[in-house]
Symmetry: D2
Subunit: 474 residues, 4 copies
């Protein structure tokens, strides 16, 4: 029987994300951590001969899982097996000094989280770049905005995209702030009192603290916890996963809206010049990728419940009822978020708007949406308010019913109003009002500009994210 794969990793996640959480990737991160500790220890006076660190650095990417696993079968201790393997490769024994297993594993898991957070941040920037482009592209395409899923007033396609985009901008700012605060456990020993590090440095507290500071600086994690037990507080894990849910909410709502639009040919998630839908059913523009985005969001919310089961339930200096939970939640959260972003980036790259369908829908509803305006114009021309209201309502209801009954197929409210002498407006006059106002979209265009400016600022700060291109998706 072959290995049962992690489906989120193997079907959906990018190889960059997988490499962080793979067995091999973790080994490399551990080795980088050990090297960082050694460097700091040497700088602070511990006797580590010249050349040793270089020896380790040279072999740190030589990962042979078979060899490590074979060692583990002998030592019966996973960390020990990894120490031995790395030392044998390097030809010396200077890693892991004054460290307990948790000093390695907690920090490396945080490093995995930290590296993953960077990837996610960059992909969110990449999403925003595309949303900005799309919002600009369709900035002036009027669209029947919907509330309660029913046409309500005019907006633009670009504004609709900017709306979801700004939600993501806001959540990204939250995500970046979580990153800025992200704090590593450091080298704290078995119950958090740094007893072993103190022994190693002959009770010199200053150097013990300096050691940690250097290790953290080396790793790039911005902050450090001082008061911990065996483990760091799991509310940190919680804040990361809840941040992922927050960050992907705008994507999910937009994907859901695209599914609604695709069901009525207003838009498609996949649209290339000359491309058609399914050959069997050419009209079918299934929003499968958008459905998948929604699926990933549901997965993330379930993972949040899991990690929420740990936060606030830690006993004393630490229990490991969290162990199996974190083995699932931490990688899966990042795989799911990564898969979501890969999918959503592809949607943004390939989506299309069927402007004629959008326009037809708008025209169909517009007369209804503008009854208030027509009423005001009629009053201006001297018709009594109540009379005008009565006339308009009478015809609007009739048109609506005729449309539903199928006796007419397009909205002829203006014809009927123009033909009714009580209102005192010609068909041409009504058309003029209509034409003038059917393009009225308030501050939609300025709002889109505002969104695009905020994305530009992000691009300046995170250029790597801005230029990211997703891989091929299933």
């Amino acid at each position: 029987m072959s290995v049962i794969p992690n489906v989120l990793a193997e079907r959906y996640a990018s190889s960059a994300m997988k490499s962080i959480w793979s067995a091999e990737g973790r080994i490399v991160l551990e080795r980088e951590f050990w090297i960082a500790v050694m460097k700091a220890q040497k700088d602070l006076g511990l006797d580590i001969p010249d050349g040793v660190i270089e020896a380790y650095e040279q072999v740190k990417d030589q990962v042979n899982m078979d060899s490590i696993n074979a060692r583990e079968r002998i030592t019966r201790h996973d960390v020990k097996a990894r120490i031995e393997e790395f030392c044998d490769l390097a030809g010396c024994e200077h890693i892991h000094k004054g460290m307990t297993s948790r000093d390695l594993t907690e920090n490396v898991e945080q490093l995995q989280v930290w590296r993953s957070m960077q990837i996610i941040r960059d992909k969110a920037v990449a999403v925003l770049v595309r949303m900005s482009t799309r919002a600009g592209q369709w900035k002036d395409v009027p669209l029947a905005a919907r509330t309660h899923n029913v046409a309500a007033q005019t907006t633009t396609v670009g504004k609709r995209i900017a709306m979801f985009g700004e939600e993501i901008v806001h959540a990204l700012s939250s995500w970046i702030s979580t990153m800025d605060r992200y704090a590593v456990r450091g080298l704290k020993g078995a119950v958090g009192t740094q007893l072993d590090q103190l022994s190693l440095f002959q009770q010199d507290k200053v150097r013990v603290i300096e050691l940690e500071n250097r290790v953290c600086a080396h790793l790039g994690i911005p902050s450090k916890l001082m008061n911990v037990g065996q483990v760091y507080p799991r509310s940190l894990d919680f804040s990361v996963v809840s941040g992922l849910v927050e960050l992907t909410s705008g994507c999910s709502s937009f994907a859901k809206t695209l599914r609604l639009m695709a069901g009525h040919e207003l838009a498609t998630e996949g649209f290339a010049k000359g491309q058609t839908g399914s050959s069997a059913m050419p009209h079918k523009m299934n929003a499968r990728s958008c459905e998948r985005v929604n699926g990933f969001h549901i997965i993330l919310k379930g993972l949040l419940t899991m990690i929420g089961g740990l936060a606030g339930d830690q006993w004393n200096e630490g229990d490991v009822s969290c162990s199996v939970v974190r083995r699932v939640v931490l990688p899966d959260s990042f795989f799911a978020a990564d898969g979501l972003f890969e999918t959503f980036l592809t949607v943004l790259d390939q989506m299309g708007i069927y402007e004629p369908v959008v326009e037809a829908e708008l025209r169909r509803y517009l007369p209804f949406l503008m009854t208030t305006t027509i009423l005001m114009e009629a009053v201006k021309r001297g018709v009594g308010r109540e009379t005008a209201h009565e006339v308009i309502k009478e015809h609007a209801v009739a048109v609506s019913n005729d449309l539903r009954k199928g006796s007419i197929t397009s909205n002829d409210l203006l014809d009927r109003l123009g033909a009714d002498s009580r209102l005192g407006m010609t068909r041409a006059e009504l058309q003029e009002i209509f034409d003038h106002n059917s393009r009225a979209t308030g501050m939609a265009a300025s709002q889109v500009d505002y969104f695009r400016d905020s994305v530009e600022a992000l691009v300046a700060e995170y250029p790597a994210g801005a230029s990211y291109k997703p891989g091929a998706i299933l």
Copy 2:
């Protein structure tokens, strides 16, 4: 980079469970399903030559994933690739007649669920067998029952186990009832109207229904849905996962209680004759497996949130925003539950009670627990109720404070009461009351018997479960 494994499957689940959800296992289940359909079709008059079904049956376990994957790269269609592989192996082309892909995949996923449910049911029976044995073993060992985590009254170790056991009995009855109701989607076509089956059988509705009935009977799934769309309602998946949460709740509560007991040497989750704890810290009896049981339960509750995100959110005849979610939830729920049971069975097999510590704790608290009894006895002997109450309270508070202050190490309340002439009872008399009542555990023993009888009834019905032995755990 090696494949990232599903950690729940590869670290914790049994091979029986893994084989159901493995790529190979699924292939076999699909083939069994196709064969069942063919058999029924043949019986109902479809032209399937003699020997064909046998030809398929002979090769159904020859699964070559590489060959299937190679075909998929050519056909770009997973189900098609599997059809071709199976047909080539069998040397004929008679499977999948009148079926759409969903007719295969929905039913096979339900088959995977169904087979997994049977495994889980049997392991729950295996758990109960052990809990019955343990409850019997310690049926008469008095124990300070705790409410609010504080000693309250006397119960027995056996009764405590029976308490969690009966919770599991109740949940198992719920699980079995869910199994009895479990209903398969059947062969319903693209949107659920059975259009294609009807064509195949020339509009003969009776045979179309009979075909489904036979397929279901063959598979052993007890019930069948009539009105479905493209997919079966995801509230069925929800009921399965919520059933797993319910079924494992008693295990989780017991595991948590064992962790509490182990922290104060009342019990251990791992205890064999001559065995000691950690060689470094011989007193350490970490309840790691019990922590893991609690972790699995948290995972299941997160998976429930995921699947709950699908139930009640199905659009029209079906959307596939559920697809990626079910790829995660269905196997992971069963892997987690299976891992939980494997772990918990091991705990039940290896756990131990330190009776002297249990007894010492009880003795320490007993005088407090019996103040009401002593009060009643004093009143019987003619002491005024208020006087007796005052005297007892005075001494009890003093003893409690002295214990907390450390000025005494054992509870000497009886000595103090015996020495106080206001109460009119000798030390010996008090001891007699004490001795008589310290063994009073109400109907605990009968309750344990009741529990054991209910387990015996389950054993009679599910003997395979009763004799199940867990594999080695990490």
Copy 3:
């Protein structure tokens, strides 16, 4: 400042449900429980004078919360205050014999749950009665079934309703089975050993068990737990709330589908003869009640997470970290479910289908949906399969693009195919195929009948539910 109300109770729940969970309602349930205990105690030989039970029964509905609260301010004990009030009203002191507070409160809370479960069951039956009627009413109205929110094949409106209906039938069977298994804690004393009841009956175990059996029989709760601690297992609460989620999932999916339909005028949730939508925007048929149904379902899933936080986390013989959680979850779950059913029943009573719009949509898509059929017919007439496929695809793509570009407004695929000599079929022949198959809905009608029969069986069993009428909703 006025009291902050429970919004679920005061805005949405029925008065029957509120009365169970109101302060006054609970008092009455407690008194009924005390009376049931007394009756059983008297029958089993306890000295309770004649007339006493009648005296209590006569006053049990005289609930004066002010008086009870005043007593509590003096006694500082809620249960004591209630005992005194009831006894003073009845003029005697015979309740609560041999009972601890939990013997009262656990059982009464279960009684509240039990009574609420009956209400919910009956409302689910009421829902099904209406769905059966609606499914029958529109059994033969063809509808473009949608998968991926895109038109796929023909079904009927009635079948769509039966599909969601059968999901509810299945969940209701699960709910009824949960009710059948629902087990009450009984009179078990402080830690579950029945010590106090045994004292009261002079160690006569038989009568102690008989007492409980009679109390349970009197209350109507079908089953009884034997091995409990201070409290009953919270996995029972979990199974009730998860049952509510399951039971309402079909309602929620249907409500969501109605929202989708209403957004395109296929249906409305509120529709009475002569009725129009909003006077301001006459075309607006907001599915506000359906949105609310979806909201309630989300609330229930959150409450499930809460109650899931208790199951599997019970320490020893019971801790009360569950207390505040259950104060929220138990009533709120039933208020939310009750509000959902009241709302959904109203939707079912008032909903309407705009058949012409349904028909127009179907006609618009039908030519696409039937390309496979046309292909087969062409092949029958001697056209090469590949030629036919090429021709059909060419025109279908063109029609689809023209529709999206807005250059045509209705689907003219048949015209184009009829005009293409390569296919060898006249427009009239194509129309015949079209007309014949546009009504083909497979076994939809039989399936609807099956659903209606299963509802009829439920009506026979639960006539009270069948005749229930919802109150007015906001």
Copy 4:
């Protein structure tokens, strides 16, 4: 039947929090909002006569719910009723100009959230002040730190408190950052395009934006959204509720640890000079309030699932399937968090440590915890490492078993080692090692100081929070 109260509000929340979410409180917030809009409108040139704003301000706290409700019964529109009431009280009609209902309700709900966030922030500061005091008070009291709920190494009581405290400091920093980013929807009209505001200001975009800026500045909400639809993104609500879960996780873990400690008399949650526990069972120190803190945390996690059901599920420019959910989640989240803080503050004020019991426990375990140290000392004195290890292990296992068997009641490992000539150390020498190291707690004290400094910095910034005193709890 009396009104069914919101149990979280009426039993647990402070009156400050209740007043924000009460019907009356909301009326006042709405009026303050209207006034803020008017002020800005006047400043920007809208014709609002002098004295008008003052007239409204003078009556804004005169809330008569009966009068408002009576108006609503006539107007059938809640916002209209409130407008009329306020205008009649003020004697003029200048509020709500150019606003839609959502312009009022969305912003006022955000104001409720914002005010509640401030209260919560201040209470978190108040919690930290007390934790700092407690950590300082017990900074040097050695304690057997526990991992896996089993004694592992020495820490101090103060450090244990600082550990949970720093978790809260970290989460508070996250909370404050969420507050800093909190963005209000502003005056955006029916679908977010500001059409109506633009009309009011004759298409002057600059003043429309300035109006919003002033309204936001007036209200004190730091940020503003530009691209919204009918409503603001519900991921904002999500971030608030997840922030509450994060902020209270440290409280919940500490409460859980206190429950563990209380169960073995190491600590009590309620402890005043001369105070005793329950009069009936004087030894009982139930951690009821800590249990309640844990219960509140579970409630918050359920509410997070609810609000998570909205985020990522918003259709188009807004649907109101969120309405009923937010009516529950927003107030209940703040009531639960507020009740949690009120309870936890009380625990921190009243808790006590039984130092002799703490010391006794430590002494009991210490010899085990120090076997590694003794081993190293023996080796220094020339004993072979393997010999020493063998001797120590032999005796440690024996002591551990004797303790569990009850044949000894205190740990006599040093006696046995001192009596074993193989180790070459006298009892006195061992005692000296023991005494020296039994006080070794690494950097625990410095860590506590670090924590206390960070709290001091918060106090300087939030003095109001620092001086907050909780109300009386149930």
